[in-house]
């Protein structure tokens, strides 16, 4: 069976464009949420954000220690499993930083499962906006790092920022819609 280059090109160019989800509202919401107090984009913005973005919010940092085999004792040994396996929940965001780590956020109703991962096995911690989200559970029996279950506070809306720290420094920050 042979196929010509022209046929490959024809097939490629016959693929229709997909209508995208509307990202304008989501991105603008995240921009406003992440930088509502910050100046317009400028070279110093990162430093401004680092100093201000989290200062206004009360942030709880839960240490989530991930050790592959020679594991240290989990800090949240009292945690119970969520009724529905969190890995069946809908993924709302999955972002990563090469060579450092990744954060997956899943949603089930008003609950959010925060699943961190460090490529180098360093200690992980997760922080979130306490004004909008409460911790309701920590799942340790996941075959990997602990998964933090957050619940939306009554009346909370808009966007909530989640931050992943690895080895004591911030690796990434993302905003999720809680509406």
């Amino acid at each position: 069976m042979a196929i010509s280059d022209e046929e490959v090109v024809k097939q490629l160019e016959s693929v229709p464009q997909v209508e995208p989800p509307d990202m304008r509202a989501a991105v603008m919401g995240r921009l406003r949420s992440a930088a509502s107090q910050a100046a317009p984009p400028a070279k110093s913005r990162r430093h401004v954000l680092a100093g201000l973005a989290w200062a206004a919010a009360i942030v709880i940092v839960v240490a989530v220690v991930y050790v592959e085999r020679n594991s240290l004792p989990w800090e949240h040994t009292e945690a119970t499993m969520a009724p529905l396996p969190f890995d069946r929940w809908k993924v709302v965001t999955r972002i990563g930083v090469p060579q450092e780590g990744r954060l997956t956020v899943r949603r089930n109703g008003d609950q959010f499962a925060i699943q961190p991962f460090a490529f180098n096995g360093e200690p992980i911690s997760v922080a979130w906006d306490q004004k909008k989200l409460d911790m309701s559970d920590v799942l340790s029996d996941t075959g990997g790092p602990e998964v933090v279950i957050l619940r939306k506070k009554n009346g909370a809306s808009g966007w909530a920022v989640i931050q992943l720290n690895i080895g004591g420094h911030e690796v990434l920050k993302t905003a999720i819609s809680i509406d």
Partner: protein, 182 residues
């Protein structure tokens, strides 16, 4: 007024503090950028997130954008780089095949409905990401060699060479699936 000029005006407004002006740029580019990212990462839900990250990154680094260059080249470059970073960060055990066999619910369900395109899609997803990007920019978004070279920051001859190699690999993959004529 040309689109390039409209882009420049929107960028200027953003840099002057008008965050809403960035919404104009998102609206103008979200469709082609989403389609590019979708074919890069092979999953609509991931594509949505990667696109949003790309737009946010573009906004954050707007001050470093070289105004002598076309904005669309820059936003595509950000999106392609975000896609490649996303692919590198993917779980090692989360293979493309598994993802294709168990697609998640996504906001662009039509993508999943393109059954006749499955083999081509699989072949594209098996290309190395740098080669995949060239195929997508050339054949899905219809950029010229020169534009692709600018977006990917590569010499034009490298773009042509990668495209040739990529199409050869696609051809072989499709032939292995029984496409073509005897």
């Amino acid at each position: 007024m040309e689109e390039e000029e409209l882009d420049r005006i929107a960028v200027d407004r953003c840099l002057q503090g008008d965050v809403d002006a960035f919404g104009v740029l998102i609206e103008r580019y979200q469709r082609p950028v989403f389609n590019t990212v979708l074919h890069m990462v092979g999953d609509a839900e991931d594509a949505r997130e990667v696109c949003q990250q790309a737009f946010m990154k573009a906004f954050e680094h707007l001050a470093s954008y070289d105004r002598e260059r076309k904005f669309f080249s820059w936003i595509y470059r950000v999106a392609v780089n975000e896609s490649i970073n996303h692919l590198k960060a993917r779980k090692p055990h989360e293979t493309l095949d598994e993802r294709l066999q168990h697609p998640r619910a996504n906001p662009a369900e039509r993508f999943e409905e393109l059954e006749e395109w499955t083999h081509l899609h699989e072949a594209i997803m098996n290309l190395e990401p740098n080669y995949r990007a060239v195929v997508i920019l050339r054949h899905f978004v219809h950029f010229s060699y020169n534009e692709i070279a600018e977006i990917l920051n590569l010499p034009e001859k490298t773009v042509k060479s990668r495209l040739f190699t990529a199409r050869q690999q696609l051809r072989e993959a499709l032939e292995a699936k029984g496409h073509g004529h005897q």
